[in-house]
Symmetry: D2
Subunit: 436 residues, 4 copies
Amino acid sequence: MSTGFFPVDKIKYEGPDSTNPFAFRHYNPDEILLGKRMEEHLRFATAYWHSFAWEGGDPFGGRTFDRPWYPQDNMDLAKKKADIAFELFTALGTPYYCFHDADVRPEGANFAENTANLNAIVDIFEQKQAETGVKLLWGTANLFSQARFMSGASTNPDPDVFAFSAATIKTCMDATMRLGGENYVLWGGREGYETLLNTDLGKEDAQMGRMLNMVVEYKHKIGFKGAILVEPKPQEPSKHQYDYDAATVYGFLKRHGLENEVKLNLEQGHAILAGHSFEHEIATATSLGILGSIDMNRNDYQSGWDTDQFPNNVPEVALAYYHILKDGGLKTGGTNFDAKVRRQSIDAADLLHGHIGGMDICARGLKAAAAIIEDGTLDKELADRYAGWEGEEAQKMLKGEYSLEDIQKYVEAADVNPKAKSGKQEYLENVVNRFV
Amino acid sequence: MSTGFFPVDKIKYEGPDSTNPFAFRHYNPDEILLGKRMEEHLRFATAYWHSFAWEGGDPFGGRTFDRPWYPQDNMDLAKKKADIAFELFTALGTPYYCFHDADVRPEGANFAENTANLNAIVDIFEQKQAETGVKLLWGTANLFSQARFMSGASTNPDPDVFAFSAATIKTCMDATMRLGGENYVLWGGREGYETLLNTDLGKEDAQMGRMLNMVVEYKHKIGFKGAILVEPKPQEPSKHQYDYDAATVYGFLKRHGLENEVKLNLEQGHAILAGHSFEHEIATATSLGILGSIDMNRNDYQSGWDTDQFPNNVPEVALAYYHILKDGGLKTGGTNFDAKVRRQSIDAADLLHGHIGGMDICARGLKAAAAIIEDGTLDKELADRYAGWEGEEAQKMLKGEYSLEDIQKYVEAADVNPKAKSGKQEYLENVVNRFV
Amino acid sequence: MSTGFFPVDKIKYEGPDSTNPFAFRHYNPDEILLGKRMEEHLRFATAYWHSFAWEGGDPFGGRTFDRPWYPQDNMDLAKKKADIAFELFTALGTPYYCFHDADVRPEGANFAENTANLNAIVDIFEQKQAETGVKLLWGTANLFSQARFMSGASTNPDPDVFAFSAATIKTCMDATMRLGGENYVLWGGREGYETLLNTDLGKEDAQMGRMLNMVVEYKHKIGFKGAILVEPKPQEPSKHQYDYDAATVYGFLKRHGLENEVKLNLEQGHAILAGHSFEHEIATATSLGILGSIDMNRNDYQSGWDTDQFPNNVPEVALAYYHILKDGGLKTGGTNFDAKVRRQSIDAADLLHGHIGGMDICARGLKAAAAIIEDGTLDKELADRYAGWEGEEAQKMLKGEYSLEDIQKYVEAADVNPKAKSGKQEYLENVVNRFV
Amino acid sequence: MSTGFFPVDKIKYEGPDSTNPFAFRHYNPDEILLGKRMEEHLRFATAYWHSFAWEGGDPFGGRTFDRPWYPQDNMDLAKKKADIAFELFTALGTPYYCFHDADVRPEGANFAENTANLNAIVDIFEQKQAETGVKLLWGTANLFSQARFMSGASTNPDPDVFAFSAATIKTCMDATMRLGGENYVLWGGREGYETLLNTDLGKEDAQMGRMLNMVVEYKHKIGFKGAILVEPKPQEPSKHQYDYDAATVYGFLKRHGLENEVKLNLEQGHAILAGHSFEHEIATATSLGILGSIDMNRNDYQSGWDTDQFPNNVPEVALAYYHILKDGGLKTGGTNFDAKVRRQSIDAADLLHGHIGGMDICARGLKAAAAIIEDGTLDKELADRYAGWEGEEAQKMLKGEYSLEDIQKYVEAADVNPKAKSGKQEYLENVVNRFV
Ligand SMILES: [Co+2]
Ligand SMILES: [Co+2]
Ligand SMILES: [Co+2]
Ligand SMILES: [Co+2]
Ligand SMILES: [Co+2]
Ligand SMILES: [Co+2]
Ligand SMILES: [Co+2]
Ligand SMILES: [Co+2]
């Protein structure tokens, strides 16, 4: 029986011509693209935190939302929150959800209370998952909001905070395992620094590397089959965060022997904060073999902080899925909306509008990406551009059979004097625009 | 015999009260800091390109300088340029200089002409070094200006460009070796992309990795004792450059097995373009053991492109040297001014003003950094902050003797509930400001 | 008779399903939108400079293009350039073009030569316009490329540069008048500063104000019916440019009594450099009544300089035209492509691809904007949101009938305690996405 | 009798060699510079909000501070807060303080309660000012934190919010008047928009203009002698704020006939967010005659949000005071620290460290600026650079006696062909560095 919080119980696909604001116009779960159902391609997840734990505050103002599950400091209201959260998941038909421990349970006075509170909620989630068929895409620990984490979790100068963090991660991995979660995510909002004057980069790197190794060891110990994912972000809340971007995290993983054990959860907004496009981050990760999952929420290009808005630009989203499809699609990962409605969007309906719009944009982007791949022009142009590297001499250079001296001789003997060839950027952009 | 191009033949140290614009007020080569002469700490180098090859153009306007060595398309004027360049090095007393092949020789019609032109100039440099005592800090190849490199050098889709680049690098390494250069630098202005639509990141990474491995192999083959350095930059001229920042290059080196063979040449301006402070890039490199040398030229914080200005802010420069001194100082590296006078600074005197100001700023920064180290407050505060990690339990956590489960037991048993401690950022900034 | 430079003589509309890269899929000049032909809505112009004067150089590399009208230092090749330029205009069917004096004529040794060269080309343009039906959207003077302008044109510390600039503007206004130009544009690339240390803002403001007043006076004197337009840009090439953005130029115009005489030519790329969206700049200008014309070329969001790329994102372009249509559409202004193909796009075909893609994107954006307006949902939501201001008390507050004291009394008497209402951002974005 | 909250009751000047962290090393109130006491030049103010109302939260975490005046929801603790606040002002010896209504009083249930609470605190402040000699630099109304303001205060689509805001401003102006405040400030954190889709720029401009006119009318009505100041900020919390920067506010004032009634309160951090240097904003304001006061708190150059840090860079601060001194110094304005200690700086001592460091940096900056002015080199160079404009012909051009045609004749007759002159930027920077 519904709580009646949302104006509509179920969002349905009505096709592109629908003007019903509570219907999908493009997200049609059963539509087949490249031989697979759209739902299985996109693997949508709704995030618990932004829609249920965030109260509308920002650095210059307090709560704007008024919800029946406030205040969030007791278990009774935490249960009510869970009821309404699963109503949202069900209404949207997102097959997955994601959560931090701190989103779903009240803050306890100590570790034991936190754990007990979490486990009580996990009992409820277990039952709700069974009732609704909604699954857990990933769980994660919030190691950044409570004051104890202000100087870092695993990278804290105080080893007790490292211990508290490690123990908390374990409880969240246990919860994720119990709930059949398909991944476990680590985002290190406080794993970084405010000032180098009080920071020892080497020590903090060693601490963070040890923590991530323990996570991987524990995963194997308990037989967790999901992926361990790190979510890069360059800054905010910290001035500098160690998991800056995909390339930086790759170096970290390699340094700690984890490049085959850990993958990335990439967020569009974080890509932008790091000075990259989303497709850059995805293509970087796929070229390194470490793409895991995505957070499909954008930043505003004119804001220097993480606005976590629902996606609204099909051409951008299409390029993201294009690189994902070229990598074989999302595996254990999904399309998570780490997105919040604006602080002024205070109505329950706004939570629906945000997600409906985001899901439709993703559906359009995916369809466009699939069409680009089926068309094949882009792939063919790319192959042609590098075709010279298939040549015998080229392969020798690439495979290490030639030294600089050998190559100098070749250049001199053949008077190699290469002429530039068009990069065709405008033509390729026009090809993309046939599909988006 | 001087050409008379510069208004002054020799810049001397006159002390802080001097108002002579053609004197050093702080750079006193023989002053001892931390037991070493200032000159040996700073290891200044003047860059050939900005002062002698650049003609004052920018994207919206052409040449503003009028120099006796223009036009730069023939060997006679290239020799005149060399004469005046060494007059600048001598006037400033920078013990080192740096150059690209394309700075010092006219562009030939093909590889053979380029090589011949370069070698003819190297003959002259050899003689001038002997006469003046000026030494070569590093040589490098310009693989970005000529049209053939427009789509990359080692990362070009055309293997002939790779070959041309490899052969050119060899000639520049040979020149550097002959001239006793103490390092060899690679900056990949075109090693990146304009659009992912025409770019295969994996292929280009393999090409770039192979090239750098060949460079290292050749270094060992010829017995070059200097360091091989990569200079990171996030973008410009390319939309994205692969050597984005220190952390990214570290990952690249590690991926290609080069992390013990190659170090970094870090530039303040590039740090800023990448969203970092200069001290961040230096501290990152030192924590990873890959700091090689620095380009001490700033960007304007309000400009989104590389302005390559002479440093003018002592507090910023002091923090850079602070991290360098903590790393044991510059070894084969130096303080290179990859800096150009503004396009409106068209007089010969301006070339002196730029360098004099930069050298004095660096001298002040170094003195401040040395004083901070001698004072010891910062180091002590840092050690105190992490002191808890020396404890037995903490070391066990760090060394891998504890698993997540072990730590959970410890947290529960001891009811670990850490209290936050002040990060003291303002106090530490005040300490620094006692010295800058 | 065609020179044969372009692979195709005429680009035609073939409809959305065409895969012909040399056809329009959306730009259909005769299609009627909101009662007006698409061609008359869009009023496309091709820019002379980027396609014909720019040679592919950037700050780190030289010319990449190879054109039959190079070198650009003599009248014969300038004529050949004009032939091919008009072939491009004709092939594309852009009803307009735009030019700077320096794009079309070789640089003379002094003002008299410049003027003679320009006038000779204007003779040719006059004839070509008659032959082809192509019209001049606007003319302008290049007061930024030649070295004499390095410290400003009207804002130069040297009054002789002011004089040279004023005289040059006059010749360009005369040329624009003769050619039936529909606007005259001023872009002040050097009207700004590199450092405040050598700059007197008050003096330079007075100079710039006087120059613009002279332009307006001369317009009236010669009976020029077109609009005088200023093109804002925040920086580049200057560190700071006085015509920073729409709001800044408004203040300048108001200060010099020109707010009813001068309008704006807004460029998307410049909006982004100034920290704004394009629609922000357009909406600001329309709300102030000073929108004149647009340069429809984008920047790359990850590059900190002006990339002047062809537009390729329909949702962005649609919002621009939405605000233009709400302002009554472009009047004397047009949609100018101040856009250049990438430095690697070296083929003649690339010039076609860039413009074709841009024109199609604009056509799609315009169609979407028209559909949003016809649908009416957005307009209605906006009107509803502010409807309270139609109330009697509200109007009294707004019209100045109430003082702070009166309002305090009202608030106290009525215990005014407003409740927040949803801003509905996600819903409104979803509405837009029905059309883009 | 002190509450004992702070570790030290009074910060004294001990001179540059002091290593006492609770002493001034440079701020010596009685030192004479350019004929005036340092205290009278700087006119320091401590801000109530950051040190007393902010609890250490950020977008990713909650309260980190633990203060004896928490929770801030009742009058008793508000009084305790006032006691400790005046202990800080007294300890520091800042002659002034600043506050918003919401900083000092608990939030009431409606306007009447807010007013009563505020007035009760004003009674206390009046007494404390008399006891301590501390004065009010400015008062202001917080029209951005409470949920009712989420869509704007004067620019709200709901006229009731406009009314509530107007009434609140009146109470704050009354409080400021009663307390002898020397200025009244308006900062419009919510006067802007999140999305143009729900925003009518013209309507909101009219509302904001009317509000500011009412403020000015009321000032005159009550005989308030202080200045009315607007504080520009480009964004945050709003995506776009109407008071974007100095130039934008100038245009707004001019449009609403207020350019002689209202001045600016400029903040370094906001300058940086707007893409400017602080000295740019100050020089812009002084050239327009609208500089009022400054908020001397910096942003971090690598963070895209307002970090409100204490200043720590003497060269930057010196340039700010240089432009202020050239404008005749601060009049009714002052140097306000709109600065907060970092979220990790949780000790009472940190509040002292932040202010002490900031005051010393300002003292050093001011001394440097005064020395630059006494030296005179910069001023002379500037005058020389524009000296040509004193010529007869130049004055005629500037004063409007010449038209474009007249000038063309002059250019042709004299064959005016100006040669570029060096802008001497590096030399001028070196001159500055003699003093900072
Ligand atoms: Co985010
Ligand atoms: Co995320
Ligand atoms: Co650089
Ligand atoms: Co460099
Ligand atoms: Co542009
Ligand atoms: Co333009
Ligand atoms: Co601020
Ligand atoms: Co402020």
